[in-house]
Symmetry: C2
Subunit: 160 residues, 2 copies
């Protein structure tokens, strides 16, 4: 799945992401970048609406977790359980959210998910605009395994 | 300003609120209720997208604070500084956000705002669907006074 494919998927299945103008720019097995233009996300002051920023944080962590689990051949339902968003300064430009997997917690998360079919993980997303870090979002997500592994050999395969 | 007037204002000046289908149902000097339909806020599972729920929480607290300060003849810029959102269960129906002013903190907030022209306050919003409390949002907002009081007699007028 390419970034454009993922963008199209999100716009169809989570219509608010289309209203945001959210666009997946890139992702790999560690991180994902999603951009959004200011215009559809403006507030009455012409800066970015806090709801748009928090939404991009929630979306970034969720999308990253989904794509990384898919790469691992794990089909899981992922739900956000908690969202914590710190707004540091007004955002008066287009913005970009970079979500990063927590390397230290990841192996244990995968082991727990495979063993108990459910696990939780926190994912941090930094939103930047005009070269500045403007918002920090921390999402806690729960994953519920829905499909068995494709083969036992995958069980503890390293990430690619 | 009626609930419908406020809804129209929000839809024009914060376009994401129109995408959400957010509609102000009622407000007074203590609380505000904003409703949103499930359809435009659905995710790929047919339940409410976490971003929509967090957004409604941020919006509810902000809108309540704005209208209550306006009633007090205070013109202030209000910005959300922090958003904390706990998602308790999936939301599979239209939902309603009830934001309530914290009575204990309110007098001190007003005094600080009038004296220092800036003050912070936390506002809790409960989102309900199908008669159940499904999401709790806590927003911390900063208010910056932009206009002087209309008359000294308003300074410590009780809320109406």
């Amino acid at each position: 799945m390419s970034p454009d494919d993922l963008t199209a998927y999100l716009h169809i299945h989570i219509p608010l992401t289309a209203a945001l103008g959210a666009r997946v720019m890139s992702f790999d097995s560690r991180q994902m970048e999603i951009a959004a233009p200011l215009a559809p996300n403006r507030n009455h002051r012409g800066t970015a609406f806090g709801g748009s920023l928090a939404t991009l944080g929630i979306l970034g962590g969720w999308s990253l977790l989904n794509t990384v689990l898919e790469r691992q051949k794990l089909v899981a339902k992922i739900v956000v359980q908690h969202s914590d968003c710190e707004f540091r300064e007004p955002v008066a430009a287009d913005f970009t959210a970079l979500s990063v997997l927590p390397e230290a917690e990841w192996p244990r998360f995968l082991t727990t998910l495979r063993r108990h079919r459910r696990a939780r993980i926190a994912i941090e997303t930094q939103i930047r605009a005009n070269g500045r870090a403007v918002v920090t979002h921390r999402g806690r997500y729960a994953a519920f395994l829905e499909s068995p592994l494709e083969s036992p050999n995958d069980s503890f395969a390293p990430e690619t």
